[in-house]
Amino acid sequence: MVEIRIAQKLRRANDEIAAENRSLFSKLGLLVVNVMGSPGSGKTSMLEAIARTGAGLRIAVIEGDLETARDAVRIEKAGMKAVQITTGRACHLDAGMVKQGLEALDLEGLDALVVENVGNLVCPAGFDLGESLRILVSSVAEGDDKAAKYPPMFARADVLVVNKIDLLPHVDFDMERFERDAKAARHDVEIFRISCKTGQGVEDVARRMRDARKAGNTK
């Protein structure tokens, strides 16, 4: 019997491209935000709402979806540059897809690049894209058990946005329980309660992005 030591990290291919992306972004002084969350949680709506606040950030968006360019069209209508990546059947974006998306964007003069991941509460957690800030968008319509049921996703979120709070009177959502579970997954997560519909709280998320950009927040 022979034992051969290998000690090789797997998923290295993605991590290497993510590191390339990250060093490019930091050279450009660009804030890169990975926006994740379930389908329908309001990821695109949050970006539209941030644009409406006159965020003081020049933002471009890379949109990931299985099919259609609908989100890219919405983002461009809101006044931001957008590139749509359709993944076909893939359930998440990886660092290589983001790198490809960059080719279609002029990064000069931008403050922030937002990567809106494929709507999914499982897979995007495992793929570093080279981002410096991770925002997870969750909505009260999804129920208050999501943080307890999908902890890896919540463990990786720097910022947790709880969207659709205008619906709170109509749904059974225990905010305290949800936030306690989210903090159990990541104790220092920053939580913002917002409504894209009414605009409540959106300015706070925009300010958080501006602060991250100023701080040169790089992982």
């Binding site: 019997m1 022979v2 034992e3 051969i4 030591r5 290998i6 000690a7 090789q8 990290k9 797997l10 998923r11 290295r12 291919a13 359930c91 499982v122 897979c123 957690a125 495992g126 890896p152 463990a155 990786r156 104790h187 220092d188």
Partner: protein
């Protein structure tokens, strides 16, 4: 969710590790996976078992998946590493911590023999 692509990576890494040992056949492969590596052991073993059939070096080998050791160090006072996840530094109470090992996914060792030889 992505166990098939990870299984392919394991097979390729194993093949290149024994490229200088013609006739090597692995009987056991040891992988170390952290609790946040996103790997489901049963799915990975299943994907590996199927895909390994096409790769003589690893075909029929047992895939052992061990838990990675998680440790936490304090970014404020520099103490640690402490075993496991922590909410705050046991020494200075700071919440600013660095976690090691949680998302590790490392191919550790290959065990096997060179067919038709003693292997040593």
């Amino acid at each position: 969710m992505h166990e098939a692509s990870i299984a392919i990576e394991i097979i390729k890494a194993a093949e290149s590790a024994v490229a200088d040992r013609p006739g090597f056949r692995a009987s056991r492969i040891v992988l170390r996976a952290g609790p946040l590596s996103g790997v489901d052991p049963a799915s990975l073993r299943f994907a590996f078992e199927i895909l390994a059939k096409e790769a003589p070096v690893v075909s029929g080998a047992e895939l052992e998946i061990r838990d990675a050791q998680v440790s936490t160090s304090c970014r404020a006072c520099g103490s640690g590493p402490f075993e496991g996840f922590r909410e705050s530094c046991p020494s200075c109470r700071s919440p600013f911590l660095t976690v090691q090992g949680a998302d590790d996914l490392v191919l550790e060792t290959l065990e096997g023999d060179v067919e038709g030889g003693s292997g040593r």
